[in-house]
């Protein structure tokens, strides 16, 4: 089964069809996605700004990690659930969407950066006073996180637009390659 087969199959499941056809359910799920964006992305940026030493330097980094990050992670869990439902409502188009693909790749990279921070950088600074301006490795991790989450939000917003959609041909070959789109001649 190719990914294309999988997403085609997914789009024919009753759940997907129901979600796709329910205007109110889709709108509510999208609203939940935006509210939890406030919780996750908002707090994440505050954590990143602290890691950069740009705000609240009097508050130890450990306070942010121990007491604020759990709230951000709770927001992230709801973002993943609501985001998955949004994909379930429009599986095939999401799979072949340039910005959706970019967003997924950036999510993996942001995840790796978070992993690096938590398991490679943060344990080493536990002994360090943890207030004031953090060491360079911490600032780099915070800066990368900030840039990537902003890029993820940009990509997420652009998914809604159909400039590069497979059913809008002709597209440059590079676009069709990046979206795994095989345009049928009849579409032209």
């Amino acid at each position: 089964m190719t990914p294309l087969d999988f997403f085609t199959w997914l789009s024919q499941t009753p759940w997907s069809v129901d979600l796709h056809e329910s205007e109110i359910a889709y709108s509510i799920i999208e609203s939940v996605h935006v509210w939890t964006l406030c919780l996750f992305f908002g707090l994440m940026m505050m954590v990143d700004l602290r890691l950069l030493g740009w705000t609240m330097r009097a508050v130890p980094v450990s306070e942010f990690v121990d007491r604020l990050l759990p709230w951000a992670i709770a927001g992230f869990v709801i973002m993943v659930i609501s985001g998955t439902l949004l994909v379930l409502a429009i599986p095939l188009r999401s799979y072949q969407n340039l910005f959706f693909r970019g967003k997924m790749i950036l999510l993996v990279v942001a995840g790796l950066n978070a992993w690096m921070f938590h398991y490679r950088i943060y344990p080493k600074i536990a002994g360090w006073g943890a207030d004031g301006v953090p060491p360079k490795a911490v600032r780099v991790a915070g800066g990368l996180s900030l840039v990537m989450w902003i890029a993820i939000v940009f990509c997420g917003r652009m998914i809604a637009y159909n400039w590069f959609d497979c059913d809008r041909q002709p597209q440059p070959a590079i676009i069709n390659f990046l979206t795994s789109c095989v345009p049928t001649p009849s579409v032209y």
Binding site: E30, L37, F41, G42, M45, E63, R67, L68, I150, V153
Partner: protein, 156 residues
Amino acid sequence: MLSFFQWCYDTSIGETIRESTWLFPLIEAFHLVGLGLTAGAVLIVDLRLLGVGLSRQPAAQLSAAVEPWLLGSLSLMFASGIPLFLSEAVKCYYSYAFWVKMASLVLALAFAFTVRRHVARTGPAADRPLQGRLTALISLALWFGVAWGGRWIGFS
């Protein structure tokens, strides 16, 4: 009132955005980043007033520290939101979500820079936790309305 919205719609900024494929989505993305930053700055203090999050720090200290970020992010919200509004002002006039958002926004801003700031500055002292919690809940409810209205303008 409608003629004012029509005038907004007819401005050259509104027209430029309408005629461009990329401008509206691009400004929207900046608006979303501003939303996140505003939410972060608001949540730091509201969670604290609720007694969670950075609850070991004085609310007054957190409030003062995030205020430049709150003001900066609100500026970004206005700088991106006003052009978005100009490009579809007439649609907004007929959108109830838009009016919900504007009413919530006025109340949220007024509340943030009067009662909420006062409560955070004087500190919800240990003997008055209820005042802090109530303030945070009102603040969160009002910003919730702003975000909800904003998202639903796009659905109408």
